[in-house]
Structures are given as structure tokens and as C-alpha cells.
């Protein structure tokens, strides 16, 4: 009965539904077990793996008609990578100005500097990082839970176009002297409207992802068995669904106050502050939630050892998600000026790094037990986790001020508040945001390399993947540390032309600029990696890629329309590792009859 992975009862792998054809080396014994000796899913002739409705086949106009979740996911990933690159490039310019505020080299004045800084932040977060994560979620979640499609797939496609239109309008508003610090009221108003549009599109896509995970799991795929990547996207989606509408409400108010003349267009600080609820810790860590899940799955695949503490990992990821939601839990009625002295918030930020640390420790168990092989995804998964840990650990520093303030109220005249480390209102928050953003982008680079073959049918180049991971991580670390150091030296978060940037502050500014520049190089490598995989020549029928143990690796690369040959039935969180995978409605055929005969005989 023992068969090899590629030849079963005289048939080659290409004849069967779920027999992998590996194009790249990786741990192979697991799949051999499933498709060889256990011989479970070999019940149907393998379908053609190329999708009949691919964008390339339909031409450029066909891109408007996409409804398959895989194509929508690819669109989100491709556009998100380009916007992320644009956002980092604009951030390089902002950092260049910030390094020496005594003289402006690109911007004409402080208002124009604010516009550049704000544009970089908006584009990086809602134009780049979040859409990239949403794209991965839209693509991977149905595959990982055995669903043939994404629930509300047309809605997700509409969400993409709404987001894209909003992104275009956002850039237009900045180019036409709008946005925070802008001088033309109409285009400042357009900034608020376009940002709300972008966020609205993202919320809609997150709604589709969350509904899919809740309601479209295949048989046997209980919520506690979903892969950690899917679980992290579930937490990410829920937190986004419940927190982003609050941000939209803020933008609505800003829009109306601008529209009816109650908020001056150059009132940059209040306009910039509208997004504080998404860009300052702990909300800034929201984009770090999928980092934990993706890192766990990638490390499990590349070490060949599934996490032993699956449910505990789900718990730590969920807890981390809840902590990122704290501003919204405690923020109602605080008029969105984040109440960083709030006791609940302080406690939340103090323990923020614990779930990250616990997750990394449990994932480290796979590294300890498995075989490490150098690869871009593994490197990216490890580095992104460490960056997130650094970001969350840094937030402890910002709690010195509220804790000392609390002690001062308890023991008046015994606490010297003049020597207390005060970080709120400084570039410290910028540093934390840079580290969290870097962690998310590195995780995306790792995911693109890991699931690239599944997404585009071609394995992205390892060299480009490694370059993207290393440069993005290095740049984010340099940028983050420089901003945190400048914050400790009291550099204001919203600097003006009168801000002092001499001495050490100037040095930190230069380092921050260097960090953003290195990060931009990393994103160029990421875009090149995606372009290489997306537009390169496809070699033959779908290869499997890495021998992962979750459900997406049970189908071809890229998956056919409908994803699987039939509804999969799973019996564990890692069905390809545990051999607990079958298909519920596989039609009768020669192989089935043989199986049934064998069963009767036995």
C-alpha cells in the first residue's frame, strides 16, 4: 500500500486531485505520509489548475469584472505594495525635512512639511500596510478554511475599487494643497472624504473576511482548528470592524466642521490628530495582529513541526488583538484625544509585549524541535516577530509618566515630576509606529515569499524576498530607534519651523531619514518580488511549493476556480500533517472503486 508521493497505483501525480508536485525543496515526509501510505484523497482526476477566468486571459478591461477572491486578493496585494512604496518614499522626504527644520529644502514652510509628513503616514498605513494585509486575508482565508470562495466576493471586489478610488482622491487632495496643513479648504475637505472612503472600502473587505471565517468553514474545520494565519486575520478583522468605523465618525465630524467653517483648513494639528486613534500605540499595533499568525504558520512549515500549543497561540493572538482595541474601549467620549493617562490603557500598554513574547516562545518550540533551513519566509517570520516585540516593549517607556503622575497624586511632594520621562507628544510615538509598521511590512514580505507560489503560481525569487525582508526590517529598526531616541530628548511629534533640531536631535533626524530610505529599498525589492511572480512566465502546471500542513497546500498552485476538487473534510488543525483530510463529495471513479474493494477485503 505504501506509495511514493508522485506515483500512486501506476498513475502519476498529475492524474490525481490532491497529489502535490513540488517545485521547490522543503520538508517532504508529511505529504508522503498523507498521499502515500495513507492514500486518502486520491479519489478524483486532477483538474486543470489554471483558472479559466484569469485577468490575463480577459485582458485589461477584465480587471473590472473580477469577483474571484483570488483575483481580488492579488489586486489588493499589488496595489497595496505600490502605495506602501509611495508612502515610504514620501516619508523619506518628510524625514529629510524633519532632520533640519531650521531650513526647508523641499517643503516651503511648516504647513507644507505637515502635508508631506501626513501624506506619508496616510499612504503607508491605509494605502499600503492595511490593504496588503487585507489582500493576503482575502486570498488565503478561504483556502485555509476549505471554502470554495469568499463570502460576499462581489462586495470584496467593490471594496477594492472603493478603496482604490479613495486612495486616488487622497493623493489628489494632497497634490492640490489639501490634507492637514493644506491651504485650499475644498481639498482639505476632499482629504477627509477620501480617507473615509479608503477606510470604508477596507471595512467592507474585512466584513467579508470575518463572515467567511465565521460561516464558511468546511466540515470538520471548527473555529478552534482554523490555521493561525486565518485566526489572526479573524482577530484583525474584528478589531478593524469595531474600531475603524469610529475613525470614520471622526472623519465625518472633521468633514462637516471643515465644510461649515468651524475648523480652519490650516488647523493641521487637529486634523492630523484625527488619525491618532489608529496610529498611536496601542492602536498602532493593530497591524501587528496578523504578524503573529503568519509568523507561526510560516515557521511551522519551514521547520516541519506544527505548533504544539495551537489553542494557546490562538489565545495569545486574541489577547493581543483585544489589547490593540483598548483605545476604543476606553476612548468613547474622550473626544478622540487619546486619554493616555487612563489606568486601563496604561495597564494594557504595560502588558502589551507579553502576548507577543508568549507567541514567539511557543513558536520557538517548533524551531527547537524542527530542522531549520535558511529561507526568506523563515527569516522574515522571525524578524517580524522580533520587531513587533521591540515595538511593544518600547511602549513600556511611555508609561513612566502616567505611573509617576499617579504616584504623585498618591504621595504629594514625594515625587519629583520634573525629572520624569515624558514621552507623550514627542516623536516617541512615531518610533513605535515605525517599528509596528516595519513588523507588518516584513511579515508581508515573508508571506509573499511563502505563499507567492500559491498566489501567482510561481515561487518569488528568494534573493528578492531576502532583500525585502532585511532592508525593510533594518530600515524600520533604524527609523524607529532614531525617532524613539529623539522623543526621549523631547523632540515634538508635530514639529514646526521653530523646533530645535540641532545637536543630537539633528543626528537622530539623519538616522531616521536613513532608516526610511533603507526601508524604501526593501519595499522596492518587495514590489520587484511581486512583479516577478505576477508577471513572469508561468512554468507548467501548478507546483505545490512548500510542504505546508494547512489546507491551502492541499490544492494546486494557483488553486482552480472553486479552490478544491470538492468540499474538504478535515479532522485536525493541521490536516496534511496529521493525515486527517478527505473530500466529501468526490465522484466515484476507478480509484474509488479500488479503495472500496480494498476496504471490503480488509
Amino acid at each position: 500500500m505504501a506509495e511514493s508521493a508522485v506515483t500512486v497505483r501506476g498513475r502519476t501525480a498529475a492524474n490525481f486531485a490532491c497529489v502535490p508536485v513540488r517545485a521547490t525543496p522543503g520538508p517532504t515526509d508529511k505529504l508522503d505520509t498523507i498521499h502515500g501510505s495513507r492514500n486518502m484523497a486520491l479519489t478524483q482526476t486532477r483538474p486543470q489548475t489554471h483558472e479559466p477566468t484569469s485577468v490575463a486571459a480577459r485582458g485589461p478591461s477584465g480587471i473590472l469584472e473580477v469577483t474571484d477572491h483570488k483575483e481580488v486578493g492579488r489586486l489588493f496585494i499589488g496595489a497595496g505594495a505600490l502605495f506602501a512604496l509611495a508612502g515610504v518614499i514620501v516619508s523619506v522626504v518628510a524625514a529629510l525635512e524633519s532632520a533640519d527644520l531650521a531650513s526647508f529644502s523641499v517643503a516651503k514652510d511648516a504647513d507644507e512639511y505637515t502635508q508631506i509628513w501626513s501624506m506619508g503616514r496616510d499612504l503607508l498605513l491605509f494605502g499600503g500596510i492595511v490593504p496588503l494585509l487585507v489582500g493576503l486575508a482575502v486570498y488565503l482565508v478561504p483556502l485555509q478554511i476549505g471554502s470554495p470562495t469568499l463570502v460576499f466576493a462581489r462586495g470584496a471586489a467593490a471594496a477594492f475599487w472603493i478603496w482604490l478610488l479613495g486612495s486616488g482622491l487622497l493623493i489628489t487632495s494632497y497634490l492640490m494643497n489639501g490634507g492637514p496643513g493644506g491651504g485650499r479648504r475644498d481639498f482639505v475637505i476632499l482629504w477627509a472624504a477620501s480617507l473615509a472612503m479608503m477606510i470604508g472600502g477596507i471595512v467592507w473587505a474585512l466584513l467579508a473576511v470575518a463572515t467567511t471565517i465565521l460561516g464558511a468553514r468546511t466540515q470538520g474545520m471548527t473555529l478552534e482548528r482554523v490555521p493561525l494565519t486565518t485566526w489572526s486575520f479573524f482577530v484583525f478583522s474584528l478589531v478593524g470592524l469595531f474600531s475603524l468605523p469610529i475613525l470614520m465618525a471622526e472623519l465625518l465630524l472633521a468633514y462637516m466642521r471643515l465644510r461649515y467653517g468651524h475648523l480652519g483648513a490650516p488647523d493641521s494639528e487637529s486634523l492630523v490628530g484625527v488619525l491618532n486613534g489608529a496610529t498611536i500605540a496601542p492602536a498602532a499595533y493593530w497591524v501587528g495582529v496578523p504578524v503573529l499568525g503568519m509568523a507561526a504558520d510560516i515557521i511551522a512549515t519551514h521547520t516541519g513541526v506544527a505548533p504544539r500549543f495551537h489553542k494557546m497561540l490562538m489565545g495569545t493572538i486574541g489577547f493581543f488583538g483585544i489589547l490593540t482595541f483598548f483605545p476604543d474601549l476606553v476612548g468613547f467620549g474622550s473626544v478622540r484625544t487619546l486619554d493616555l493617562d487612563n489606568g486601563l490603557m496604561v495597564v494594557g500598554l504595560l502588558v502589551m509585549s507579553l502576548p507577543v513574547l508568549a507567541t514567539l516562545a511557543m513558536v520557538g518550540d517548533s524551531i527547537r524541535l524542527g530542522k531549520l533551513s535558511a529561507s526568506a519566509p523563515l527569516l522574515g517570520a522571525l524578524v517580524s516577530g522580533l520587531l513587533l516585540l521591540a515595538a511593544t516593549a518600547a511602549s513600556v517607556l511611555a508609561q513612566v509618566e502616567p505611573i509617576m503622575g499617579f504616584l504623585d497624586r498618591l504621595f504629594p511632594d514625594q515625587i519629583d515630576m520634573t525629572n520624569t520621562l515624558i514621552l507623550n507628544g514627542t516623536t516617541f510615538h512615531e518610533g513605535v509606529r515605525a517599528l509596528a509598521s516595519g513588523a507588518a511590512l516584513v511579515a508581508v514580505a515573508a508571506a509573499v515569499n511563502h505563499w507567492g507560489i500559491k498566489i501567482w503560481g510561481r515561487q518569488p525569487a528568494q534573493s528578492a524576498g531576502s532583500a525585502a525582508v532585511l532592508a525593510t526590517a533594518g530600515g524600520a529598526a533604524l527609523w524607529g530607534v532614531a525617532e524613539i531616541a529623539a522623543g526621549i530628548q523631547d523632540k515634538a511629534m508635530y514639529p514646526s519651523a521653530s523646533s530645535d533640531t540641532s545637536g543630537a536631535l539633528g543626528l537622530w533626524g539623519v538616522l531616521a531619514m536613513a532608516g526610511t530610505a533603507v526601508m524604501a529599498v526593501g519595499l522596492v525589492a518587495l514590489v520587484a518580488s511581486i512583479a516577478g511572480a505576477g508577471f513572469g512566465k508561468r512554468a507548467g502546471t501548478g507546483p505545490q511549493g512548500w510542504s505546508g500542513s494547512t489546507l491551502e497546500w492541499a490544492t494546486s498552485s494557483p488553486p482552480p476556480l472553486g479552490n478544491f476538487v470538492g468540499p474538504p473534510v478535515v479532522g485536525s488543525a493541521y490536516p496534511l500533517l496529521d493525515g486527517e483530510l478527505a473530500y466529501a463529495n468526490a465522484p466515484a471513479g476507478p480509484v474509488d472503486q479500488a479503495d472500496e474493494t480494498e476496504t471490503e477485503e480488509s
Binding site: 469595531f242 461649515y260 467653517g261 472500496e596
Partner: protein
Amino acid sequence: MASTDMTVADVSVRGIVPPSVTLAEPARPRLLVLGTSLAIAAIAMGYIGLLGHYIAERAAVVQSGSRWLPEGVNIPLTQPNFQGLTLAFSIVTIWWAVSSIKHNDRFYTLVAYALSVVFAVAFIAQTAFLLEIMGADLVAEGVDGERTVLIYAIIGTHLVMMVAAIVYAVAMAFRTLAGEYSSRDYEGVLASAIFWTATVVLYGVMWYVVYITK
């Protein structure tokens, strides 16, 4: 059949699933209800965020001994109460639609939908009238204008949600007319009723926060 007791044979996988596999509950079919519920939660969060603004800003003004409502603005109680009454009627009719479709009674489902929409349109007209008689000036200078903007944002957002509920109901009514829903599957009708109910509940919250406490 209890989900945990399901065996492999129950789902006709013809012996290819190992005996250790116990099947969980099959994928739940009511995806539209699920998605609608999540959407309601998201909308409610945004709306509560707006109301949070209102409560915080009002509390600060009242604490300082000033009057919260802008000068010359008056919110009568009669109109908001009748608006609430109208929406209460619509709750009955929208759930009548669900009850009718459960009994395969498409005619009365459509009648119930039509009545619900009539009530909703009446509610919108009442809101427009209330805004008219409130005498609030959106472009008034200073804090008066800012407060008016906040009140308009809260009322306007609810109106948008009401319009969305009407569109949702009309779409489901057309689907019912086309024969898509019956006693076996009335997911869309149920989802639209849930969305409608959430809209009414949010009006109740707004009624208390804005119209009653003023």
C-alpha cells in the same frame, strides 16, 4: 443530530476519513444574517463614537454652567416621540414580513414590506420637519455652529442608516417577489428585519441622548 456525534459514515465520505475524525457542525448557511450582524456591530460602533462625542462635549459645557443647545435652538418633544412611535410600528410590520414568509405567504410579506417602507418614509419626513423647526444654524459662528454640526452629524448618520434599511428591505422584497425566499429559506428577509431593528434601536439611543437630555 448532535454535531459531535456525527460519524464519518454520516457524510458519505466512503471510508476515506480515518475513524478518529469527528465532524463538526457543517458550515452555517445563514451567511447574510451573519454578515448583516457584523455590519450592524460596525455601524453601531461608529454611531456610538459620535454619541460619545456628544455626551463628552455636552458634559463639559453643562459642567461649566453654560447652556448646551445653541442660542435659539429648541428641540420639542412631540416630534421625536412621534418619530419613535412610527418606528415602533415599523418594527411590527417588518417582523410581520418575516412571519409571513415563514408561512410561505408572499402576498402579506410584500404588504408588510410596503407598510414598513411607508413608515420609514414618514419617519424621514418627520425628521426633516424636526430639523426645520429646531432652528439650528449649521454655519453659525463659534461654538454654536460646532454644536449644531455635531447634532446634524448624529441625526444625519441615522437618516443614512434608515435609507440603507429601506434599500435593503426593498431589495429583499423584490427577491421575495421573484420567488427567491420561502418558508425553507428566508435568510434575506430575516437579515433585512435585523438591520431594520438595529436602526430603530439606534434611534432609541439617539432619542434619549439627543432629544431627551438635549
